[in-house]
């Protein structure tokens, strides 16, 4: 909800003392506005959030302009009483007499600075909540068991918490359109809608397209996209997250899994260099959906649809799940890690300097890229990476569609224009100068290495997640782990180091790349390299400028910025 760090940073904001349900608490007088960030008087719901008092609400959302239409957050409040001469009335002990106001106020909007006492659990407040829930339910389908939102639904939660047991409604319900495809990604069920207008405000105020609106009047109100225009945009699925009920559902997710079966893992979106904080919802080694996670330094609470839907490759058919090694007859057969790594190490141990080339993907974690830089140093190898550029936009989507190009730059595995050494590497392979080629997460042929010359190599290893056209050429094919299957960090375009967590163990025989690399390095450098991302990261912080203040623990869930130095920012 409200970012507590932000609160502490704003020390210059005066505090005011109020009482919430009889408990005294000091709150800042103003808070940044949900959209503009301008300081505005603290509303009751913000004050209660600071005090840890839960106020039920549908239309209020901390990141949207306040609308105040659901009336779920009605509370009672009291202000100092004044007499006829507008002088405060005092108790015998000198404290002001607080008079409860006869009319309720909505907590999401009300910010009268004179308010000194807030009552959130009086009989009247309970009655207000019960009444609003009854109103919302009379025309709402009571078919939670077949609603995809069940378990994830604010209406369901609040009815359990504050509602009444039986319905007194004996009339016919309002019939509204159901199962309307308002975009290629979203289905709208108007009967389930509570008309909180979060989606309308989101499209208008956050992404700036007036795509959604309300049709009809009164009880027949319904959300709709404008006739003739589809609700197509790269951020539409945020509206699904915002929807407190089952009115807007994602076509990608709906009816694939009940939400209570899903486990949640804090992660970072690997879709582009912005590094939006996300939550992976998974079950049984299968990702079902990605949802944005709040981080004010990066993505607020939003993420783009491209990133959100970019997870299917993790469980794709062409996932590499076993180690393959080339047979004497040139065919690839299934192998095991121990013998394969032994063979690779034996070649690398003996190879002279400048006879190895390493092609690194900027989709690897910082730890893996660091280990590769150490391996390259030991072998005096040629290195390069490939840039994957898209269009990007002005909101969250970066032009760079890989999550960790910054780390490639920091550890100097490629020039500022990654891919410009490929031609040289290809030429050196052709001339027999380069004898070994290690590829991590890229397709060497597609990247520009001439296909015919790969047979001349002594050692050709591809470590990847998916089978690609070059895979069949490799002597050793190693299955790597996706972002959901390992821990690590990505460094986003702004230089923020962010941790991602492991949702499930790698599929099949796949192993995280850091594990492969640490094993190889330990053997060929005769040093001991940590086998955990945490260990590797703490090694990075000890040696890399800009990382001095960080530790794995300190990164926490929202990450830390690299301290700007000449080395890192160049």
């Amino acid at each position: 909800m409200i970012n507590k760090d932000q609160l502490q940073n704003k020390e210059e904001i005066p505090m005011i003392d109020i009482k919430i349900d009889g408990k005294a608490i000091s709150i800042p007088k103003t808070r940044p506005h949900s959209v503009t960030g301008k300081q505005e008087p603290t509303t009751i719901i913000q004050a209660c959030s600071i005090a840890g008092v839960d106020i039920p609400h549908f239309c209020y959302h901390p990141r949207l302009p306040v609308s105040g239409n659901c009336r779920m957050c009605l509370i009672e409040y009291g202000i100092p009483a004044i007499d006829r001469d507008r002088k405060p009335i005092l108790n015998p002990d000198g404290t002001p007499v607080i008079r409860k106001m006869p009319r309720p106020a909505i907590a999401c909007f009300f910010n009268d600075t004179a308010t000194t006492e807030i009552y959130t659990n009086t009989e009247a407040v309970k009655q207000y909540r019960q009444a609003v829930l009854e109103f919302l339910l009379i025309n709402h389908p009571l078919d939670c068991p077949i609603c995809d939102q069940a378990g994830d639904c604010k209406l369901q939660e609040y009815v359990h918490q504050y509602g009444q047991e039986t319905s007194r409604f004996v009339e016919d319900k309002v019939i509204k359109p159901k199962k309307r495809a308002i975009s290629s990604k979203i289905i709208l069920d108007n009967e389930r809608c509570v008309l909180c207008t979060r989606c309308v405000r989101f499209t208008r105020e956050i992404i700036g397209i007036p795509a959604l609106g309300i049709l009809n009047r009164g009880g027949l109100n319904q959300i709709s996209n404008y006739p003739g225009s589809d609700f197509e945009h790269n951020y539409t699925l945020n509206a699904v997250d915002l929807c407190p009920v089952g009115a807007l559902t994602s076509r990608d997710f709906r009816f694939r899994m009940r939400s209570w079966f899903l486990s949640e893992t804090k992660s970072i979106c690997p879709g582009c260099a912005t590094g939006c904080n996300i939550i992976i919802h998974s079950r049984d080694k299968q990702i079902y959906r990605l949802k944005p996670r709040e981080n004010d330094n990066v993505n607020s609470v939003w993420m783009c649809d491209y990133g959100r839907l970019n997870y299917k490759w993790v469980n794709a058919q062409n996932r590499l799940t076993h180690v393959f090694a080339e047979n004497t007859d040139g065919t690839q057969v299934e192998s095991d890690w121990l013998s394969t790594l032994k063979k690779i190490i034996s070649v690398l141990e003996k190879t002279p300097p400048k006879t190895t080339a390493i092609l690194v993907s900027s989709r690897l974690s910082t730890e893996e890229i660091y280990l590769i830089s150490k391996l390259a140093k030991r072998l005096d190898a040629f290195t390069d990476s490939i840039s994957h550029l898209g269009e990007g936009d002005s909101f969250l989507l970066n032009k760079d569609l890989t999550p960790n190009s910054k780390a490639i730059q920091i550890f100097k595995l490629a020039s500022k224009t990654p891919g410009d050494r490929i031609a040289e590497i290809s030429k050196n392979i052709d001339e027999g100068k380069i004898r070994n080629l290690l590829v991590f997460g890229e397709d060497p042929i597609k990247s520009g290495i001439a296909p015919g010359i790969l047979g001349r190599l002594d050692l050709f290893v591809i470590c990847d997640i998916l089978v690609n056209p070059s895979s069949k050429e490799a002597q050793y094919l190693l299955p790597g782990a996706s972002f959901a299957e390992k821990q690590g960090t990505f460094i986003n375009a702004q230089g923020r180091v962010q941790r991602f967590g492991k949702a499930f163990s790698p599929i099949g025989d796949a192993r995280p790349e850091y594990w492969i690399l640490a094993n190889i390095l330990t053997k060929i450098t005769q040093e001991s390299w940590p086998l955990t991302p945490e260990g590797i990261f703490n090694k990075i912080t000890a040696t890399t400028p800009g990382f001095e203040n960080m530790t794995w623990e300190l990164l926490g869930t929202v990450g830390m910025d690299i301290v700007s130095t000449a080395n890192t920012t160049e």
């Binding site: 659901c70 009336r71 109103f135 009164g218």
Partner: protein, 470 residues
Amino acid sequence: MAKEKRLILKHLDSKGYNPSITCYLKHNGYKTLKKAFSLLPLKTEDGKTLSAQEQLREEVKLSGIRGRGGAGFPTGVKWSFINHNTDKPVYLVCNCDESEPGTFKDRQIVHKDPHQLIEGMIIACYANDVHLAYIYMRGEFNLGAKIIEKALQEAREAGFLGKNILGSNFDLEIYLHRGAGAYICGEETGAICSLEGRRPYPRIKPPYFPAALGLYMCPTIVNNVETLCAVKHIIEIGATKYAKLGIPGDTGTRIVGISGLIQKPGYFEIENGKVTIGELIHDFAGGPLPGRKIKAIIPGGSSSKVFRADEKITLKTKNSDGTESIKTIDIMELPYDSNSIMAAGSMTGSGGLIIIDDSVSMVDVAANISEFYTHESCGQCTPCREGNLWMCKILRRILSGQGRRIDADELLRISHNIMGGKTVCAFGEGSTWPIESYIIKFRDEFLAMTGIAEDNRKEVWGESGINRFE
């Protein structure tokens, strides 16, 4: 016998009077405007200088006039909320969205004497430093819109609108904006939203009081048509003289529209508090239809609470020596003014009396009114959107002969869940007050109708049939 006191309606129905500017000028039109423009800065006793505008505002405040749109808020006080020391422009919106059932006063002015409104508006604009004003007219006033548009054009051509009006260095433009036919546009913030081109969702007060954050988030004055016309008369005859009309606390005259089951429905301009409800009904409107008996009186448009015709009202009155005396009077003896009607538990609202006689079932009236408010609820906030539709469905079911004895209490319960500051705007109150009052004051009719239905079902279905709708 009580008499009308015609100020605003003075010429309007006289023979040969027409809405053209020539006719208006012939009847001393725009003279008051010239008077307003001719005001010079005035030195007060304590050495301050009052500008002409301040004098005009002071006059309106002194006159004690209360808004005629429905809420009855003192106009001078409303004007005094405007902060003139900002860079923002001040707007004036004339609320001509007269949609309250039972109210048909503004349309008389708009159709028959549009220049009176325009003159009143120009004076109000001059007094408040407004250079752009709007007339927000309800969509159904087709003819009215044509007449106002023509009148505005005439005023422009005659130099009453535009740049440097009558050499006063004052610029003003007035535009007509037509709504699309929604009752909620009569709510001032709803009208403002509609003017801005949005859905007319009323705004939350506080902080969106028009005087501070009105049209385009600028200070805005929203006044009713009749109020703006009255402003003209206040300036014409002077505040002290105007304040002597009516009674203290509700000064001046107001136009009352009487409709319903009555011999001579119509509109009458009366001095506030100088005429009783009985006089309005019997003297002005000719009394009930032959052979009928008046059963109920809706005193101020359909959203006000109803009076039983046989109701006794207990009023507290202050004597001249400061003591209070309590007297019980018949509803027909109740003076028609804001304070008295409010003391009796209802409101004068927009001044539309609806007379209901003994031929009509109050359940029918409730269903009819509920149907209207259900259709007109904007649907922004939950209680009003869902609650009104629910009440309407219950009333429809009762009328269809499927009532239950508990329905009356159920309606009361639902209306209590809507009213009392739980909604964004006053529509929540306006739509539930009538239903609540009908049930409280005519409970027997509701119980009779639902009871018969329940007994019939019991006969056909047995004991289980009583509440077979549950």
